[in-house]
Amino acid sequence: MKDSDYNQSKEKCWRGDLTAAEAAELQAWLAQHPGERADWETEVGLTEALGKLPAAPVPSNFTSRVMEAVEREAKAQKRPRIPVWTWLLRSLLPRAAVAAFLVLVVLGYQHQQTVARREKVVDGVKIVSGVSSLPSPEILQDFDTIRKLGATPGPDQDLIALMK
C-alpha cells in the first residue's frame, strides 16, 4: 500500500465504503506507519459520528401538507387566464390617464409661457414704433456743452455777502 492508497482509503472512509479486505490492508499499513494511526482513528471516529447524527424532526402531516400545497398550485395553474387586452386595459388605463393629464398640464403651461412672451415682444415693438416721432438728433449737438455748464462751481457765497 502506498501513501496515495492511504488517501484513497480516507476518501472511502468518508463515505463509509471501506471493505473488510481494504480495512485489513490499511491496518497492516498503519502498523508500519504508527504516526498516521491517530489521524486514522480520528477519521473513523468522525465518520461514525456523522453517520449517527440524529434525523431532523419531520412533522407527521408533512406529506399531506405538501400535497395540499401542490393541489393549490395546480388549481392556480388551471385558473382561466385573463386575455392580454383585458389585462392591458386594466393595468395600463389608469396609468395612461395620469400620463395624459400630466402632458396636458405641461402643454398648457408651455402655451401660457408662449403667449406671455409674445405680449412682451408686442409691447417692445410698440415702444420702438413711438421713437419715429422724437425730435431730430441735430438738436442734441450742443448736449455735452450744456451738460458741462451744469457742472460749473456754484456762486461765491463770501463775495455775495461782501457786496451786500
Binding site: 463509509g16 491517530a38 461514525e48 424532526p57 419531520v58 400535497m67 401542490v70
Partner: protein
C-alpha cells in the same frame, strides 16, 4: 423508457404525466433526507419545514423540465440547496430577529429545563446527546458548501460526482471541500473522537 431507469426517475416520469400517487411516493421517500439538509442549513425547525415543503412544490412545478438522464436525488438536492441559499440571502438582506426568538431569561429557563430532562436519561444516551450537540455546533460553523458536501457524502450517501453536480463544481473541488470541512471538524472534536465515545455510545 430505458430498461435500467432509476426507480425515482421512473416515478418522476409518472409525475410528469400528472400522477399524484407517484409524487406522494417520492415525497415519502425523500422528506427525511431533504429535511436533514434544510434543517442543518437553516437552523430553524419551523422555517426548515416550510422550506422543505417548498422544495417538493418546486419539484412538482418543475416536473415538466425534468430529464430522466439526471439522477432524481441529485436534481432534488440541487433544488433544496438553491432554495436554502435564497433563504440565506434573504436573511442577510433583512436581518431581523425572529418573533419566536426566546427572551434571554426564558432561554436560560429553558436550558435549565433541558438539563433537568437530561438527568433522567441513561448515561450512555446523555453522552450521545452531548456529542450530537457538539457535532451539530461544529457543523453549523462550517461554510455552507463544506457542510453541504459533508452531509450529502455521509448522510445521504451521494457519490462524489453527484455531490459535485449539486454544488456545481468539479469532483476534485468537491473532495477538497469535504477534506477541508472534515479537517475543521476533526480539529474541534478531536478530544471526543479520539476517546471513541461515538463507538461506545450506542
Amino acid at each position: 423508457m430505458p430498461l435500467n431507469l432509476d426507480p425515482d426517475a421512473a416515478l418522476m416520469l409518472r409525475v410528469k404525466k400528472g400522477d399524484t400517487a407517484a409524487f406522494t411516493e417520492l415525497v415519502e421517500k425523500y422528506k427525511q433526507p431533504v429535511m436533514n439538509l434544510v434543517y442543518r442549513t437553516i437552523h430553524d425547525a419551523t422555517e426548515a419545514e416550510d422550506l422543505a415543503q417548498n422544495v417538493f412544490v418546486q419539484v412538482f412545478k418543475s416536473a415538466s423540465r425534468y430529464k430522466h438522464t439526471a439522477k432524481f436525488s441529485t436534481w432534488l438536492f440541487t433544488i433544496a440547496r438553491n432554495l436554502c441559499l435564497n433563504e440565506i440571502r434573504r436573511r442577510s438582506r433583512h436581518p431581523a430577529e425572529s418573533l419566536d426568538a426566546p427572551h434571554p431569561e426564558q432561554e436560560e429557563q429553558s436550558l435549565h429545563q433541558v438539563e433537568d430532562k437530561k438527568t433522567f436519561l441513561p448515561p450512555e444516551n446523555l453522552l450521545q446527546g452531548e456529542l450530537a450537540e457538539k457535532i451539530e455546533e461544529a457543523l453549523a460553523d462550517l461554510p455552507e458548501n463544506q457542510r453541504t458536501a459533508i452531509l450529502l457524502c455521509r448522510q445521504e450517501e451521494l457519490s462524489y460526482e453527484e455531490i459535485a453536480e449539486v454544488l456545481d463544481c468539479s469532483v476534485s473541488a468537491t473532495k477538497s471541500l469535504i477534506h477541508r470541512g472534515r479537517e475543521s471538524l476533526k480539529e474541534r472534536l478531536k478530544a471526543y473522537l479520539r476517546r471513541g465515545d461515538w463507538g461506545e455510545a450506542k
